[in-house]
């Protein structure tokens, strides 16, 4: 066993111990609220029959541990030189997400009067296992040459993404008045989660293949990439982003836009281009706000600027965060279920309330470490394309985390995207694990095999 395997094993052991403690505290919180009888309390599940709280906690902890340990063994065998920190950090976040959902599910089901929501934790567990399997699949089957071959067809990737979004808009499954999912039998796939990875693959391919030919010109004193080279990229970016924007899905549009900015900076080295793109974004946002089209932009900015007079979501989140204090109220002792969509968009508020400032800072520190390792993998990779791809994927995680944490804490307008690995959302979980698999691949010496 090499040093990396030993480090990964130790950190993974620690993570699983922390997660087990999390499950223990959730069980204690059930006993505290409902007495010992609550552990045997039956929870009705439409497809799974009946099950009890205590066995479910033990099952969840065991299944997560088995999936994580299995992933460790597979990744060490397939990619022995892969970064040993990525997997334990992701397992820590996944474990925390499961503990949180396990605790939130009954309260959310009661608050929304929908007994099916009691199954959230179990569904998330299934998605996490599928995510671990995807991670292993990427580690075993995918190599740098496969990704490079896909990026060769970069324009097709964009067209495919646009078609996927259009198909979702017309034939998708409607939930809460929005069509963002495509039904695949009993499952539903949030297409934009897949599209964001395809678009990063497109941008990485573009800048790797065309980056060196891009000529810079001085326009009004700014050093900008020439339109003859940057034009195709801008056209493709527009083709990719506009359908998502008109679908009313603000979060992914911004996420992909800012990831593109990161890749433009890496691909062209032009700070002026990034500043110009940011100015254009701010200008477009201001125009959209003043014109009131799309309505969602105005609504989100109003909620951010005047939280006490526009909707209660941000206010509920802020109250929740303020209740947490230094060490939190304790898992199960807070009232985060009062925040709308706490299970997917406002998890961070629940973490702040029940685990306090220390818990929130721990989560942010773990994200910071994960992202640093992602950028480190990109920096050390000898293959230019894989390096750019890793930067794009690590940027996705970074921007996603900043956007949702900023939205929940009232620092940025709320955009409604998930917190990677923690929030409830099947496609998001599986795609996050797949991205982690690619980052592990890029960090290893086997990537170029």
């Amino acid at each position: 066993m090499n040093d990396k395997a030993r480090t990964e094993k130790k950190l993974l052991g620690f993570t699983l111990l922390v997660t087990a403690l999390g499950f223990l505290i959730v069980v204690l919180s059930f006993v505290e609220r409902g007495g010992l009888g609550s552990l045997a309390g039956r929870v009705k599940g439409p497809a799974l029959g009946e099950f009890s709280t205590l066995p479910l906690a033990v099952l969840s902890a065991t299944v997560l541990a088995a999936a994580a340990w299995g992933s460790h063994l597979v990744v060490r065998r397939a990619l022995p030189t892969a970064d040993p920190y990525l997997l334990p950090l992701a397992v820590f976040l996944s474990g925390l997400g499961l503990v949180l959902l396990f605790r939130l599910a009954p309260d959310v089901a009661r608050a929304q009067d929908d007994p099916r929501l009691r199954l959230l934790a179990l569904k998330q567990l299934a998605w996490t296992v599928l995510g671990c399997a995807t991670f292993c699949g990427v580690a075993v089957l995918v190599r740098g040459r496969h990704l490079a071959a896909a990026a060769e067809h970069k324009y097709l990737l964009v067209v495919f993404s646009a078609l996927l979004i259009a198909a979702t808009a017309f034939f998708g499954v409607e939930r809460n008045g929005r069509r963002l999912w495509i039904g695949l039998g009993p499952l539903s796939l949030q297409t934009v989660e897949v599209v964001k990875v395809l678009l990063v693959l497109f941008a990485a391919g573009f800048f790797h293949q065309e980056g060196r030919y891009i000529e810079h010109r001085r326009v009004a004193g700014l050093r900008l990439p020439g339109i003859s080279h940057a034009g195709p990229f801008l056209a493709m970016a527009g083709l990719a982003l506009l359908p998502i924007f008109f679908q009313g899905d603000l979060g992914p549009t911004l996420l992909i836009y800012f990831s593109f900015l990161a890749l433009i900076y890496v691909g062209t080295g032009s700070r002026a281009a990034v500043c110009l793109a940011l100015s254009l974004f701010l200008g477009a946002a201001t125009v959209a706000y003043v014109a009131g089209y799309p309505a969602v932009v105005q609504a989100r900015i109003d909620m951010w600027l005047f939280p006490f007079s526009h909707g209660e979501t941000i206010v509920a989140s802020l109250w929740s965060i303020s209740a947490g204090g230094l060490l939190g109220l304790g898992i199960g002792r807070g009232l985060p279920a009062g925040i709308p969509v706490v299970q997917s968009d406002f998890n961070f508020a629940a973490i702040c309330e029940e685990m306090g400032f220390v818990g929130a800072m721990t989560v942010l520190a773990v994200y910071a470490l994960l992202l640093l390792r992602g950028f480190r993998a990109a920096r050390r990779c000898r293959d230019g394309f894989l390096g750019i791809l890793a930067i794009g994927l690590a940027s996705l995680f970074t921007i996603q985390t900043l956007m949702i944490v900023g939205g929940v804490t009232g620092m940025l307008p709320m955009t409604g995207i998930t917190l990677p690995f923690i929030s409830y959302g099947g496609t998001s979980i599986v795609v996050s694990w797949a991205i982690l698999g690619v980052l592990s691949l890029v960090s290893s010496e086997e990537a170029e095999a």
Binding site: T7, L17, I25, V358, L369
Partner: protein
């Protein structure tokens, strides 16, 4: 119910049984306590018994579900923070080791 039993119940006989059992229990408890007191006064068992009794009372007073929950919660939050700190520390150690290794390679050249 036999006529005899019915007559006893009518005379309030049912109350006698619990009263008798309560009395027996109280007497038994008094005897056990006396035995403990006698043992506590002996040189051999005195100090361990007093210490044990105090420990038991402290345990009874503190081992509530609320306190167990609080301890596990603090342990959880601390362990989470410790995990992040441990990972960060290992990453830094690795960086330092890599730097030292590079310096040694430079020196050997």
């Amino acid at each position: 119910m036999t006529p005899d039993q019915a007559a006893r119940r009518a005379a309030g006989g049912t109350a006698l049984a619990p009263l008798a059992s309560r009395t027996c229990f109280a007497l038994g408890r008094a005897v056990v306590r006396l035995a403990f007191l006698v043992l506590a006064l002996t040189r051999r068992f005195g100090i361990p018994m007093i210490v044990g009794y105090i420990a038991w009372r402290v345990f009874r007073a503190t081992f509530t579900l609320h306190n167990v929950f609080t301890v596990v919660h603090l342990l959880y939050v601390t362990a989470g923070a410790a995990f992040a700190a441990l990972a960060a520390e290992r990453i830094l150690q690795e960086k330092v080791r890599a730097g030292r290794h590079a310096e040694e390679e430079d020196g050997s050249r």
